[in-house]
């Protein structure tokens, strides 16, 4: 087990040299983006148990801001990333203060409602391109426009961001803040009785999660050079974060990675098999995964492995 972390790091580092070519690199980038987004969601949705289904609001803000900076002032899109983080932070405070009065499904529904309102608003706001959206520089003016022909530079930029998100999550897990998040998830009333500042802790978690989700959105729009209301603020963006984290194992460090590792190739395969004819298939796929998880393993693949691994070990020892 002690070699699993260096092995995973080596695998991610050398993946583009193991599976070469744009097709596999594209899958690698999509995997990293899904893992970053789900890991960011995991801080508030997994550890604190506050199941936000409206995280697309932060992803969308992060995605729009870099291209807006380019569109309005001709600045390199990357200059808009910190602004996206700040706006997401402010949005997290504005949304978190009232919605954290709600619990369970009510909180989830409130986050969906806010994200949908923002999507509709952005879709009619001319400054941000309304329903058409925004475009980045078609051809890079310099390296800082981050418009690369190859997927490879994006792969390593995304990998570096994932490393930062995972390291932060690892530190959160071990800190007082992380213990408080898990206590809140297990029982707010009991946590409060032990002196846990419940609302402040949840708000802090949402702020941290929003910042990282915003960065994920920025990476997406800088790489694709385009953003519209559906790909930035659409409900599927939020649902994908939830599914990836839940599939792998919410409230675990590597759960979102496992989820992304399973879901992204599956999505790519279904898109390849069905092409444009399977446009609604993603919803069916997500729905199927939710049903299977709820029925067989609500703790996700991480929990499943925790059950299976000891049995396999016993069997191999017996043999």
């Amino acid at each position: 087990m002690k070699w699993s972390l260096p092995a995973l790091a080596a695998l991610l580092l050398f993946y583009p040299f193991i599976l070469t070519g744009p097709f596999y690199w594209d899958i690698g980038v999509a995997f990293l983006l899904a893992a970053i987004s789900a890991s960011a969601w995991n801080i508030v949705g997994g550890y604190a148990g506050q199941v936000s289904v409206g995280h697309s609001m932060f992803f969308g803000v992060g995605a729009y801001t870099p291209l807006l900076f380019y569109h309005l002032w001709g600045l390199p899109p990357v200059a808009g990333v910190p602004a996206g983080m700040l706006v997401s932070l402010a949005l997290a405070v504005a949304i978190g203060m009232p919605t954290f009065r709600l619990q369970g499904h009510y909180f989830s529904m409130a986050t969906i409602a806010v994200a949908e309102l923002i999507r509709i608003f952005v879709g009619t706001w001319d400054l941000v391109g309304a329903a058409i959206g925004l475009q980045g520089p078609a051809v890079g003016r310099a390296w800082w426009d981050l418009t690369f022909r190859s997927e490879l530079p994006y792969y390593y930029i995304f990998l570096a961001v994932l490393a930062v998100v995972l390291y932060t999550t690892f530190e959160v897990e071990r800190s007082r803040f992380g213990y408080y998040l898990r206590a809140i998830k297990a029982g707010e009333r009991a946590a409060r009785s032990l002196g846990v500042p419940v609302r402040a802790t949840k708000l802090k978690a949402l702020m941290l999660s929003a910042v990282f989700t915003s960065v994920a959105g920025s990476l997406y729009s800088i790489k694709t050079g385009f953003i519209d209301p559906e790909s930035g603020f659409g409900i599927l963006v939020s649902v994908q974060m939830v599914i990836v984290a839940a599939l792998g194992g919410a409230a675990t460090l590597f759960g979102p990675l496992i989820g992304a590792l399973l879901l992204v190739p599956l999505q790519t395969a279904t898109n390849t098999w069905f092409g444009g004819g399977g446009s609604g298939l993603t919803y069916i796929l997500y729905g199927g995964i939710i049903v299977l998880l709820a029925r067989f393993e609500p703790g996700g693949m991480h929990e499943w492995w925790q059950h299976v691994a000891p049995r396999l070990m016993r069997r191999s020892h017996a043999a």
């Binding site: 071990r174 213990y179 206590a183 009785s193 002196g195």
Partner: protein, 245 residues
């Protein structure tokens, strides 16, 4: 007085669960709260713990008004509580559960862990410290609740039926644990149905019935009080006993 609750009433709609109850607890005392089911003792207890804001009256802790303070503020002030139905953090280990409490006074993980380990040992949970709370039985959960509160460094502990559902042997061990906690200088208010616990531990007892405090005094005096016997056994209990004999 360490804790002083004055003229506490709590209404839920038109129903008055507690009616003008008073309680004064001196530092180092053990007070028992008893009464039949639905007597209002848990509601009164929740008012003391900051879980419920009383409709009238006020609660002073060490001279400071904490009537409207949150449950977190109560914990910070030094009032710890357990729950009637153990509210352990099921997916966390025993040690992690206790560490959540210890983090109130220790911001760093190492210091919190050290305190938690000491308390886990004191409460007899060392063997189970790496187990998830969900794997514990009733006695283990009750101990864990007590350990978690102890880790917050309380001056006053409110125990809500913390010893209910234990076998006679477990009960004796739990009584010994409560005694050890008291020896640490912690003041205790105990809500309990088991008279053995009250008679053994409490220095003074308050009896609740229909929201009122109907009797208070030393345990031996209170159990002999006619109003208390009537509250538990109903009117006409002497006649019924005569008829039965």
């Amino acid at each position: 007085m360490l804790l002083s609750a004055q003229n506490i009433s709590k209404a839920f709609g038109s129903f008055l669960a507690v009616r003008g109850a008073d309680l004064a607890v001196a530092e180092g005392e053990i007070i028992g709260l008893i009464g039949p089911n639905g007597a209002g003792k848990s509601t009164f207890f929740n008012c003391l713990a900051g879980d419920t804001v009383p409709t009238t009256g006020r609660v002073l802790f060490d001279g400071i008004d904490v009537t409207r303070a949150s449950a977190e503020a109560h914990a910070r002030a030094g009032i710890g509580r357990t729950f009637q139905v153990p509210a352990t953090f099921e997916d966390m280990t025993v040690l992690e559960n206790v560490m959540v409490g210890a983090f109130l006074r220790h911001h760093h993980r190492g210091a919190a862990r050290e305190t938690a380990l000491r308390i886990v040992e004191m409460t007899g949970l060392t063997r189970q410290s790496a187990q998830r709370a969900r794997s514990l039985g009733t006695p283990g959960r009750k101990r864990l609740e007590i350990a978690r509160v102890l880790a917050t460094g309380p001056r006053l502990m409110l125990l809500d039926e913390a010893l209910a559902g234990l076998t006679p042997t477990e009960l004796q061990q739990a009584i010994a644990l409560v005694r050890r906690i008291h020896e640490l200088g912690i003041t205790l208010v105990i809500v309990e149905h088991i008279m053995e616990v009250i008679m053994t531990l409490a220095q003074r007892v308050l009896v609740f019935n229909q929201g009122h405090v109907i009797a208070h005094g030393k345990p031996r005096e209170v159990v002999a009080n006619e109003a208390v016997i009537e509250a538990y056994l109903g009117r006409g209990h002497r006649r019924r006993r005569r008829e039965a004999s």
